[in-house]
Structures are given as C-alpha cells and as structure tokens.
C-alpha cells in the first residue's frame, strides 16, 4: 500500500543547490567589502510591529553616515552601514546579529531597538559593540555584556523618577497607574510608582492592559476605586486614546499624566475638545539643544519631512560616536581588535572633558582633526549630551511638557541621576 520513504538523489541535489545559492549571496556581499571602507551594522525592525520605527530610525542612521562621510570619514575611510532586519521578532533578531557578526564582520552595531539581551550573547563574545537607540528597560544596565552594550537613550528608571516626582509636584496625592503590558510599560510603571511614593504620594491601584482591545472600562473602573486624583497612563497613542475617551465618558478620571509613549499630537486630536488642556507629561530630549535643532533641519532637508517617530536622533548619535571612537582609536588598534578599540574609546569621545562637538558636518570635521591631534572631545548629541556611564547607559535629559492650546509645549528639561 505505502512504499517506504524514498527520495531520488537528483531532487536532494536540487534542494542542496538552492541552499548553496542562498549562501552565494553571502559570499558576494562579503567580497564587496573594499579596502578603504569601514562597515558598521544596523539591526532594525524593518518588518513586523515596529516597522514604522525601523524605517524612521534607518533614515537617522543613513543621515549620520552621510554627515560623517562629508566630514571626511573616520581615519579618512568611507563609512558604510549594512542593515539587517530584526523583523520585530527575537529569533530573527538573533539571526540578524549572527549575520552582522559572522558574515558582515562589523565591529559595531547600531541597534537593536528592543531586546538588546537577545543580541548580547552573540555580540559580546565576538567583541562587537552594540548601541541601542531605544531600548529603555532598566535591566539593560546589568546585562552580562563585557561592557560591549551601550544605549543612547535614557533608562526607564530615569524617566520613571521624573514622572513620579512630577505627579507629586503637580499636587496629586493619590494616583492610579495603567500601563501597557510590555517591558517598557511594566518597567516604567514600577519606577514611577517607586518615586511617587518616595515623594509622599500613594498609588492606589496599578493595572496593565493589552493594546488593541475595544474596551478598557473594566480596568478603569477598578483603578477608580478610592477616588485617585489622577491616572498615570503609560502606553502608546492608539490604545491610549481609547482609554482616555472611556475614562472621560464614564466620568472616572479627568486628570492624566503621560510618559514619552503618549507624547503625540495624535492623542490631543483624537480625544478632541479641551479635555486634555493643562495635562503634563514627560519624554526624551532637551528643550533647547543646538544639536537637535540642527539635526531636525538636516533631516527635513534630506527627507522632506520631520522624523515620523521617536529615536531616529538617538540612532544618529550612535553612528556618530562609533565613527568618532574609530578616529580616536587609530588605524592600528582598529586593525587588531576593532570592536574592543571602539568600545574603549566611546567614553572618551562622548563624555567630558574636551571640546564640545555638536551634531553638524563642520563640527565632525573639527572633531576628526582634534582627535588626530590627540586632543579630547565631548560629543553633544542630537538626543542629548550622550555621556556614557560605567554600564554603557547615558543620562539624557528628560523633557517635561504640557498641553496648551491643543499643542504639546515644552516646559523644562530635567537631568535626573
């Protein structure tokens, strides 16, 4: 009735052929590496849930590469970025890291946007620096990474502190926290609660939500028990607006406080009316930073629009500090162990002391020259001052904003430890 499994040889060969063809791509791409070029990697979500972020961050990376090359390039070499798709998926992210490390053989990677901890076991043993533009959770600080993992964005612990203290400062005594059920929401909720209670406030209730649901009334009703003064809503605009509308229409909350994820014109427009007038929030960035202003202008010139999502400036800074560190390391160190050479110089070029370098082609030219002369520099990035601490974290300023005349306006920026 059934013959046993039998497979003709030629078909097996056909399968092998396809596999070899795929590998041929790999060889060609590796052979394309020219002598006076230096390649860095970028591991970004080009597909999947975070694809809109990935696209915008990629523009930031490309802009930085362009500026660095216009300034002459590190050690006179041409900087090039290869992109690998993390697909917003841990398995693909790991595979992308393997590609960058073992096929493209890059010394440094800008990325991943989330889950640095998946890439670290691949990159750290191979001495590859990773600089995440956006991975905010607190645990990134303590990863076992041999100091090869950096980020150009502030830890959630810092924003949580500012958010918690802001809530107290605004006169709220009792608050409820509703947060999106992901590492960002959970981490921020925890540190916000900690600092709000340290200031003297009391968190009456804390609940998580999953995005994309039609109704959040159940959580809201639960949180409204004990009549808290305000709802601290940690999430993203899409479900966030649904939550605000339902909280307002049910008369459960009329005071809200928002973190960076909700720092979007979209929430004001979708909720409508003057319901959100005077509400406060926090987010990354400095209110008046010449680097950021210059970055915005250059971005607009290159792509014709403002950055559509956050974190493109953080990626820009990541590329720039890598290039500056290459220049500082010098050709010999870069040849011996490029990843380690870059790692060892990152703090030198990004932290004080030294001449302040802003984000512009002229300043990069100046920086390359100063470094060649053995002088110290301190890069002041588009996303903040970019000073790496001993864990590879940066302390970037946190912006406090409020909603005034249906616009998000900066109030002041705080530098928290």
């Amino acid at each position: 009735m059934f013959s046993s499994t039998f497979c003709p040889r030629n078909k097996m060969k056909a399968v092998l052929g396809v596999a070899i063809l795929t590998l041929a791509f790999v060889f060609v791409s590796a052979a394309a590496l020219a002598q006076d070029e230096i390649t860095i990697g970028s591991l970004l979500p080009m597909s999947g849930d975070l694809a809109p972020y990935g696209k915008c961050v990629q523009q930031g990376v490309n802009l930085a590469v362009k500026h660095i090359n216009e300034a002459g390039g590190p050690l006179g070499m041409k900087l090039k970025a290869v992109f690998r798709d993390s697909q917003t998926d841990p398995t693909a992210l790991r595979d992308g890291a393997e590609k960058l490390v073992n096929v493209d053989k890059v010394p440094a990677i800008v990325g991943p946007m989330i889950r640095s901890d998946v890439a670290t076991p691949v990159t750290a043993p191979n001495h590859v620096v990773i600089i995440s533009p956006s991975n905010t959770p607190t645990w990134v600080t303590t990863l076992k990474d041999d100091d090869f993992t950096f980020r150009t964005t502030a830890s959630d612990a810092i924003q949580g502190k500012v958010l918690g203290e802001l809530a107290w400062e605004l006169g709220y005594k009792k608050a409820a926290i509703l947060y999106i059920n992901d590492p960002y929401g959970g981490g921020l909720a925890e540190s916000c609660k900690e600092w709000f209670e340290k200031s003297g406030g009391k968190v009456l209730g804390q609940a998580s939500y999953d995005p994309g649901k039609a109704s959040y009334k159940m959580q809201l009703k639960e949180l409204a028990k004990g009549a808290p003064d305000a709802l601290i809503l940690i999430g993203y605009p899409e479900s966030g607006t649904v939550i605000i509308r339902q909280a307002l229409s049910e008369g459960l909350f009329d005071q809200f406080l928002f973190p960076d994820g909700m720092q979007s014109q979209q929430i004001i427009d979708s909720v409508g009316g003057d319901h959100l007038e005077g509400m406060h929030g926090t987010g990354p960035g400095a209110a008046d930073n010449p680097s950021y202003k210059n970055y915005l202008a250059e971005f607009q010139k290159a792509y014709g629009t403002k950055p559509s999502t956050a974190y493109s400036e953080n990626a820009y800074d990541g590329v720039v500090v890598i290039a500056l560190a290459m220049q500082a390391a010098g050709k010999n160190a870069l040849k011996a162990d490029p990843g380690r050479a870059i790692r060892d110089k990152l703090r030198e070029v990004a932290n004080p002391p030294g001449e302040k370098i802003n984000a512009s082609v002229e300043d990069f030219q100046k920086a390359f020259k100063l470094l060649a002369d053995g002088k110290a520099i301190d890069y002041e990035g588009a996303a903040g001052s970019i000073d790496f601490d001993e864990y590879g974290d940066t302390i970037t300023p946190i912006l406090i904003w409020k909603i005034e005349n249906r616009q998000i306006v900066p109030v002041r920026s705080v530098i928290a430890e």
């Binding site: 399968v15 998926d89 043993p125 059920n181 992901d182």
Partner: protein, 305 residues
C-alpha cells in the same frame, strides 16, 4: 561565515524537529494542529524554569540539569496535549484547527500575565546552555549543532520507524479515511490522541532546544507567525507526509526567510526599507509555486496511492 552557517543550521534543525512533529500529526494522522506554538512554548518555558538558576523574578531556580529540562518539556507538553485532547479531538478538520489556535492564544496570555511563573513580558534570561564552559563562547555553535543535529536525527529515526510500524499504518489509515478505519475495528479516538500527544511532546522538545541555544525566552518568540505558521509552511513546501521532505522544507523555508535579508545589500536604499515586505512576497511565491506545481512538496518521492 562558517559560524553564521552553523547558527543557521541550528535554528533550521529546531524548526525541522517541530516540522517532523507536525508531519506526524497532520501528514499522517490528519490532525490540523494550528497550535504548534502552544506546545513549543510550553516546552520552552518548562525547560527554562526547571534549569535556570535561582532568581527572585519568577518561580524557579531549580537549577536542574539540561537533560531534565528536555524531559520535563516533553512531559508537560504531552500532558497538556492529553488534557486538551479530550475536548479538542471531538472536533475534526477546520474546527480542530481553530480550537488549537485559540488555545495557543490563551496560553500566550497566561504566559504574558502570570509573572510569578514566567516573569511575564520580560522573559527569562540566563538559561543554561549545555557544555557552554567547554569552549570559547565564540565557537559554542559547533557544540550545539552536534546536540541539536543528533536530536533531529534521533527524532527523525523514531518517527520514521513509528510510521512504518502497524501503529503508524493505523495513523495513516485515520489520515486517509477515519470512518473506514473505524469500521475496521480500530479505536480511532485513542490513536488520534496518541499521535497528538507524541507530536506535541516533540514540539515541546523543539522548544527546549530553542531556549538552551539562545539562553533566553520571552512571549514574543511564540507569536503565531514565527511559531505556528512558519512550521506549516515548512511542512507544505517540504511535502506533507514525507519526513525527509519536511526536514528539507524546514531548511529551505528558513533559508529564504533569513537569506532574503542579504538582498538588502544589492538594492537601492529606497527599496531596502521595504525588504521585509519583499521577503513575505518571496515566501508567498514559493508556497504558490509549490502548491501549483508540486502539491506533494519538493521531495515528492513517496508514492501515496
């Protein structure tokens, strides 16, 4: 270069193990399991919790040897399959598939929210990797390739032998025509249950193999696309009911899935941003071509009358 190929083969082998399990359930017994991710996840988390070291973040810190993790993964996946089997196996075909899909989503919600058990959305890090201390971490892939390759071979041989045995013939009979097999005096329900449990245990083992390679697990790993549908794709491209075929299918689909990324280097930057979508197009085209020209899969050596 070689290191990357090794890492490719490891993930490919893990998927091949899951594909073999699905082939047993669907290819031979006709069980349309759309909940592969559920058993893959159960295995992964069971092994992760059993073997990881002391922690305050979630239950665990048992620090058991990795082998115990694999056994636990198989037992828990099999046990849950047994429990689910009672209601689910009353359903046939499409309804069975929908039920399993729903069970996957339910279990995923449990894993995301029960932080005391699974550390929720943060996931579990620092899961032990067998023989990790033996070599330079740079070259660890080679060791693990031997482990997972051996596992794949073992499971392949076991399934190949099982489906050729009288037991396997009954499964095939159920797959071809359940009523007819029932009329021959076989207890179809019992055999379906056995096939379901056996296949699910293997999926659990695939999950354990995943976590002990990456040293990491989070609910994101088990989204339906990357844990269920990709395995279906592998089985369909490779050849339903053909064990060697589905192994080849697993490697081929994974090669296209991750290999298409290299296309980015050859296209202009404006197109490069869309490469993710182009990959999906490729995968769709390949599936389309296979279904149209080789409905039996790329290795259609096996004759089924």
């Amino acid at each position: 270069m070689i290191s990357y190929f090794v890492s490719f083969l490891i993930i490919g082998s893990i998927y091949a193990i899951a594909a073999l399990a699905l082939n047993l359930q669907w290819g031979f017994t006709g069980l349309m399991n759309f909940g592969i991710g559920a058993f893959y996840m159960l295995g992964a988390y069971t092994s992760a919790i059993l073997t990881s070291g002391p922690t305050t973040e979630h239950i665990g810190g048992f620090g058991l040897p990795v082998v115990a993790g694999f056994i636990g993964a198989a037992l828990v996946s099999g046990g849950v399959a047994f429990l689910i089997g009672f209601p689910a196996l009353r359903l046939r075909g499409g309804t069975f598939a929908i039920a399993l899909l729903a069970i996957h989503e339910t279990l995923l919600l449990v894993v995301r929210n029960e932080s005391w058990l699974t550390n929720g959305v943060w996931g579990i890090r620092g899961i032990p990797r067998p023989f990790f201390e033996v070599v330079n971490p740079k070259h660890y892939g080679y060791i693990y390739l031997i482990i997972v390759g051996g596992l794949l071979l073992l499971i392949y041989l076991a399934i190949a032998k099982a489906v050729r045995s009288p037991w396997g013939r009954i499964l095939r009979g159920i797959g071809e025509d359940e009523d007819l097999t029932s009329m021959s005096g076989k207890n179809c329900w019992s055999y379906k249950m056995q096939s379901f449990i056996f296949g699910s245990m293997i999926m659990g083992i695939a999950g354990a193999a995943y976590v002990h390679y990456t040293g990491f697990v989070s609910p994101q790993v088990f989204n339906p696309l990357m844990s269920t549908f990709i395995v279906w794709l592998m089985v369909m491209v490779g050849g339903t009911g053909n064990n060697r075929g589905v192994i080849a299918g697993a490697f081929l689909v994974w090669a296209i899935w991750v290999g298409s990324d290299f296309l980015t280097d050859f296209v202009p930057a404006a197109v490069a941003t869309r490469i993710g979508f182009i990959r999906m197009l490729f995968v769709g085209i390949i599936l389309g071509i296979t279904v149209l020209t080789r409905p039996q899969g790329i290795l259609s050596g096996e004759k089924r009358n």
